[in-house]
């Protein structure tokens, strides 16, 4: 086991900067998600850590040892590929045994270790099968067993759940997390699925255009995003744009929005505020609103989407569509076209620099 340090890594392909001065410290034994849209550089970064590709500049170390020029086969990493990449000409057991076998381990050792790995992923009885006889979820487990049986220093996962259907994906998320805890291996997980990143990881790094946008525990990024991109990519957010008032913004129509979090920005500078849809209260318009502490806006419901346990309201306000999510408490539901008052606390509002 070992931590991974990526320091100032850059990598270009022709004129395209795939990674631009990225630094991340992956703690020993942690579960880390690299989140970003396609083309953000997250897979490129994973391939640099794996050793399939080398950085143009910067350093990568695993367990304190510099590896940025060490090829993948000498890095002692385990990797799970998006489409599993199981060897079709080998049985499940031979697939799992491959890493030990190329190392020249004794047959007895290999058999024991393979069985232990298969048991760990709950496929103990399927060793004799061929990959094409397995379901997607089972292949996923074989790929995982194959990657960890060699006791690698770090486990790398490239969108490993992308090919599974929704229900199976949730099962595998829990399973993956369990196995990771059980063997305590440093795990780096590439995904474009924000939910996966939120539910599975101890820390999340958000990448965009080859740069690290924000990095931290998922709760912190969700509650305290530092940019509009981070706010909208990890979870949903209503973004208001206006001029900074120091501790909030003033919208073009003069309405003030107070923010309880975020950096201190010079008054008058362009700025925005982010508010999560579930933090906003919605009520029918009953005359003069009480504006003691809260941020208050008036609007009109343009659409309601009922999803059982909650409802999403789209509220039109000064040319902007705001999103509000309300838990189903059995209270009166609002109709489309209704005038409403939106209300939320400054603590739920994050001030962001413009851009």
């Amino acid at each position: 086991m070992a931590g991974v340090q990526v320091s100032n890594v850059s990598r270009s392909f022709g004129a395209h900067k795939a990674l631009d001065d990225v630094s991340i410290d992956f703690a020993d034994g942690g579960f880390y998600a690299l989140l970003g849209p396609s083309g953000s550089g997250k897979t490129t970064l994973l391939r640099q850590i794996a050793g399939f590709d080398f950085p143009d500049s910067g350093r990568i170390s695993i367990g304190g040892e510099s590896v940025e020029r060490v090829p993948v086969e000498k890095r002692r990493i385990g990797m799970v590929f998006q489409n599993y990449a199981l060897f079709p000409n080998m049985s499940v057991a031979d697939n799992v045994a491959f890493g030990l076998s190329v190392r020249g381990e004794a047959k007895v050792v290999i058999a024991t270790e393979v069985q232990r790995a298969l048991d760990l992923v709950q496929l103990g009885t399927l060793g004799a099968r061929r990959p094409h006889q397995l379901s997607g979820g089972q292949r996923q487990r074989v790929a995982l067993a194959r990657a960890i049986v060699t006791k690698p220093r770090v486990l790398l996962l490239d969108e490993p759940l992308g090919a599974l259907d929704k229900a199976l994906r949730v099962d595998m998320q829990i399973e993956l997390k369990r196995i990771q805890r059980e063997i305590g291996i440093t795990t780096i997980f590439v995904t474009h699925d924000q939910e996966e990143a939120l539910t599975m990881s101890d820390r999340v790094g958000i990448l965009r255009d080859g740069r690290l946008v924000q990095e931290g525990p998922p709760e912190e990024i969700y509650d305290r995003p530092k940019t509009e991109f981070a706010a909208t990519f990890l979870g949903d957010a209503n973004i208001f744009r206006g001029d900074s008032t120091g501790n909030g913004i003033r919208l073009p129509d003069g309405t003030a929005i107070e923010a309880g979090a975020g950096p201190t920005l010079a008054a008058g500078a362009k700025a925005s505020c982010a508010v999560r849809p579930e933090r906003i209260g919605i009520a029918t318009d009953t005359g003069a609103p009480d504006t003691t502490n809260d941020n208050v806006l008036k609007g009109q419901v343009s659409k309601r989407i009922f999803a059982g346990n909650n409802s999403t309201y789209f509220v039109e306000r000064a040319g902007q569509t705001l999103k509000v999510i309300v838990q189903n408490t059995g209270a009166d539901r609002l109709a489309e076209g209704q005038e409403v008052v939106l209300r939320w606390s400054p603590e739920s509002t994050v001030l962001l620099p413009a851009g």
């Binding site: 794996a50 399939f52 090829p71 993948v72 086969e73 000498k74 002692r76 990493i77 385990g78 990797m79 590929f81 998006q82 489409n83 990449a85 199981l86 060897f87 079709p88 000409n89 491959f98 890493g99 190329v102 190392r103 194959r146 990657a147 060699t150 790398l156």
Partner: protein
């Protein structure tokens, strides 16, 4: 309903006519190789006399041995060189790769007569001259593109992540190739090898240009024999060749599935 039945019947007739067109001459020749009369006279009388006298024909046997030896050596060389070339074209990006790949196809399309002439002139120019060694070189050059094309086609169905997965598990280049890549392309390699064998064994034009009186191959020897005067021995040897060739082609069809799963 009636129309469908007629169409079905016509379709079946068409297939039979097609097969007759393809196989009737061959079947007649094979039958005549077992007929007593050397002049195609009927009624048919069974004999294996011509196969017996074939056995006595030292020239024909020597030519047959040359043909088989050259075909086997051609196959081995082409399979090794061709598979290695296909792997290189698959794995690596380098300058002029597209151009090189495009250059692989014309030799298949250029008439053998022209290739043969060019080889004859070239081999004389560089001092190799004619003979079995020249024939072998010529056959390798003719068969190599087929192997590369067939193995490359098989490689198109290979997922490069498999090599990456093997490397991530600590396998070096040789282990990756031997344990992951080769097993996958093996059907293509076998099919390519059978192609190479067939191209060499059936080759007449280029062999004819490069053969010398003592050093010749079976097709060239047959041609020479026919020019001297037809004998039923030729029917006999042709029948043997047809059986061997068809067996090879059936094997090829068995192994060679473009883009197919096992």
């Amino acid at each position: 309903m009636a129309t469908t039945r007629i169409l079905e019947w016509l379709g079946r007739l068409y297939i039979w006519l097609l097969l007759a067109f393809l196989y009737l001459p061959i079947i007649i020749m094979a039958l005549m190789s077992f007929n007593v009369s050397p002049f195609y006279q009927l009624p048919f009388e069974w004999t294996t006399e011509w196969y017996g006298s074939l056995w006595q024909n030292d020239q024909l046997i020597a030519a047959t041995r040359n043909s088989i030896e050259i075909a086997i050596i051609t196959t081995v060389i082409c399979v090794v060189l061709g598979s290695a070339a296909s792997l290189a074209l698959f794995r690596y990006e380098f300058r002029g790769k597209k151009f090189l790949q495009a250059l692989l196809f014309p030799p298949i399309a250029i008439p053998w007569l022209i290739t043969g002439t060019a080889m004859l002139i070239f081999f004389f120019g560089v001092g190799i001259g004619r003979g079995l060694f020249a024939i072998l070189l010529g056959h390798v050059a003719l068969a190599l593109p087929y192997v590369i094309v067939v193995v490359s086609a098989r490689l198109q169905t290979f997922a490069p992540e498999l090599e990456e997965a093997a490397r991530s598990l600590g396998a070096n280049q040789w282990q990756v190739t031997r344990r992951v890549t080769l097993p996958w392309i093996m059907p293509g390699v076998i099919a390519g090898g059978l192609f190479a064998f067939a191209v060499s064994f059936d080759q007449f034009v280029v062999s004819y240009f490069l053969a010398t009186p003592g050093q010749t191959t079976l097709p060239v020897e047959i041609y020479a024999a026919i020019r001297k005067g037809f004998t039923p021995e030729i029917n006999a040897v042709s029948t043997i060749i047809i059986v061997v060739s068809m067996a090879l082609m059936l094997l090829t069809a068995r192994f060679f599935k473009f883009g197919g799963e096992k």
